[in-house]
Structures are given as C-alpha cells and as structure tokens.
C-alpha cells in the first residue's frame, strides 16, 4: 500500500478534531466523577458531613486525612437554597461546583469577617422569579450566589489545626444547614 501524504494530513486533522471532542466530553461522561461518587451519599438540599477520610472509607480519591468535609447537593428547580454555617477558623473554605465538577464560586474564611455566614444559592431565573422569594433572599448579611444550572454541589472544607481539633471541627460542621427556602418562612437572624 502506498502512503499518501494527503491521507496522512487528513488523518491528523481528524485526529485533532477527535482530540478536542474527547477532552471536552470527558467531564460529562467521566463515569466516576465527584458528582456520581457523592450522589449515593447525600439527598438533594441536605447537608451531609462526610465520614473522616480513612483507608476503609474515602468518599473521593485523594481526600485530605487531616481535613473534614461537608457537602450539600442542591436542586434549585423549586426555588433557592440557603446554606448556613459557622466559620470557626479562617482556613475554612466554601466552594460551589456544577455537576461536571467545575468550580464557579469559592469563599474563604479569611475573607469573611464574621463568625457565621448565610449563603443563598439561586439560578438567574428563580432569583427573579417571585417577590415572595426575593423578599426572603434580601437579608442584608446573606451572600448571594448565582448558580449556572439547577443542580450542583456545595462543599465546606475544614482543615484541622491539629488532631485534637477533629471533634470540635466535626461538630461545627454538623451544625451547618442547607435547605430549600420555603415561601413564607422567616429568615431567622
């Protein structure tokens, strides 16, 4: 068979296209991405403190053994979701991800000059949806986060200042809440 340079160039062009499509598709089709792994651990709009990372139990690969994690998988299709947590340490980090694992918002304890924080997550549509919700949302101290799509994931990371702080950190994480904002409910402040 005679090698045609025309064929080789065409094949490499196609290879480039296949390369680009593969890279763009991986986050959506990766069978063991974080969203899939965590979906069995947490219902929607509920805060779950993940078990201490250990050889026997690790919710995600390469988790930090000296950090504690809490997650909330939210679904905004029926309205905004509110996250409340204390921030006992400036190392704490709260990050928001879409289901493909892309981070769209991060806030660090060091950036907040308060002991606790309230974050309201909404999509562009339901933020503007009804007055009742927006009046709820409008507390001065709450931080507004606009999510790119209805579903996503919030993760609180709490690095331990030392092993003796593990219990205290876990109980602080357990106090955190994540839930749908019900119309008519008052914001407790």
């Amino acid at each position: 068979m005679k090698v045609s340079w025309y064929g080789v160039v065409l094949a490499l062009l196609c290879a480039g296209i296949i390369h680009i499509i593969a890279v763009l598709w991986i986050p959506r089709i990766a069978p063991r991405n974080a969203w899939t792994r965590l979906s069995t651990l947490a219902d929607f709009n509920t805060l779950v403190v993940l078990p201490r990372p250990s050889p026997a139990h690790q919710s995600l690969p390469l988790m930090a053994p000296d950090m504690r994690y809490a997650i909330c998988r939210y679904d905004l299709s029926r309205g905004p979701v509110r996250v409340r947590t204390s921030i006992p340490d400036e190392l704490w980090t709260i990050a928001f991800y879409d289901p493909s694992g892309a981070n769209f918002y991060t806030i660090r304890g060091a950036d907040i000059n308060r002991d606790e924080i309230e974050i309201v997550v909404s999509t562009q549509t339901n933020a503007l949806l009804d007055d009742e919700t927006s009046s709820l949302v409008g507390t001065e101290d709450s931080l507004m986060v606009t999510a790119p799509q209805d579903r996503g994931l919030m993760m609180i990371r709490a690095p331990l200042a030392g092993a003796i702080y593990a219990e205290r950190t876990e109980s602080a994480l357990r106090q955190a809440t994540c839930g749908r904002m019900l119309p008519g409910a008052q914001v407790a402040r």
Partner: protein, 198 residues
C-alpha cells in the same frame, strides 16, 4: 470491486490512525498534563488552573476523571508527585526522607496515598503531616520519613510493595503573585530523597 479494495484499506488505516492519535494524545494531556496546563518543580507537579472558574478543558477533564473537587489556586495549591528527586517511582518497598523549609502559607499538609488515591492502612493511624502537627527543627525546617518500619520523629507509615503518590496541599498560600495572578511556592517545595531500599 477488486480494484477499489486498496482505497478501503487506506480509508480504514487512516481512520485508525486518526482515532489512535486523537484519543491517545487527549488521554496523555488530560492524565499527565502538559506545558499548557501544569507547572513542575523538582518531582512536584501542579495544575495551575485547578478549581479555577476559568480553568481550561484539560484541567476540567483531569479533575473530573479523577473524581476530585479542587478549590481555586488563590485558596489552595495542590502539588502531587509519584516520583522522588531522582525521578524514580515512589514505592512502599523503599524509605524516603521528605525535607523542607517552612512554607509561606496559612496551612499545609503532606499525605501519602496508593496509586489509586486511597490512603494507606497502618496501625499508627497516621496518614499525613500538617504544618500544625509536624515536628520541626529550631530553624522551622522539617523532615518526614516515609517508611514501612517505625521511625523516630515524623514517621509517615507505608505498607506492602505498592507504588505510592504524595500530595502536598497548601492552604492560604502567601507567596507573591506573578503577572498572571498565580501564586508560586515552587522554589521552596520539599525535596524527596530515597534513603534505603531492600
């Protein structure tokens, strides 16, 4: 029919070439990283845009495939390696010394994992050392020994003969930003020296 066969063979060969080159280059650049996406310093490599809302498709694909959720590089930097300073594969069969100077950060931690990203079971229940619990010398420098046998000082236990990887995570990095807004602690990262091998 007979005369068109070579055309079909050629078509199959070129299509095969296109698929093989396209997929293998995608896999390599997503798995290992490239100059476009990862920085290297000694044995350590870092995905510069990990967890960044503006992350490139390779970085996104890398972390989605791994099943991890990194935070932005302004909050945390993740340096990982599966090799020592000499470029040899880290294995639980050998002992290593991880030596470093104080890192300019609010908190850091070095943890050891199996190839799969799982922590290594050990009786001591020790999986990592952080800036808060590592024992240091007077000048702030530290030495962590990675070994299957108990060692005095900062002993990070391993077991078996499996290949290992290390992850250094640095929270609240305070190193100055460069012109792209990225922070770099590269010059100060710990060294990983093989001490002994059976």
């Amino acid at each position: 029919m007979f005369r068109s066969m070579p055309t079909i063979v050629q078509f199959v060969a070129y299509s095969g070439l296109a698929v093989a080159v396209g997929l293998s280059s995608a896999w390599y650049m997503v798995d290992h990283g490239s100059l476009l996406t990862t920085g290297r310093s000694g044995p350590w490599s870092v995905w510069s845009l990990a967890g960044n809302p503006d992350a490139d498709p390779y970085t996104r694909a890398h972390f989605a495939r791994q099943g991890r959720l990194p935070v932005t590089s302004t909050s945390a930097l993740y340096y990982s390696t599966d090799r020592d300073d000499e470029g040899d594969r880290l294995t639980a069969e050998c002992d290593y010394a991880i030596e470093g100077q104080p890192l300019d950060a609010a908190w850091w931690s070095i943890a050891a994992y199996r190839e799969s990203g799982r922590l290594i079971p050990n009786k001591a229940g020790r999986y990592a050392f952080s800036s808060r619990d590592v024992a240091r010398s007077g000048d702030g420098s530290f030495r962590i020994v990675l070994s299957a046998q108990a060692r005095p000082g900062n002993w990070l236990p391993t077991t078996g003969s499996a290949e290992l990887q290390l992850m250094l995570r640095i929270y609240g990095p305070r190193a100055p930003r460069d012109f792209t807004g990225e922070r770099h602690l590269d010059a100060n990262l710990p060294s990983i020296k093989r001490i002994a091998c059976p």
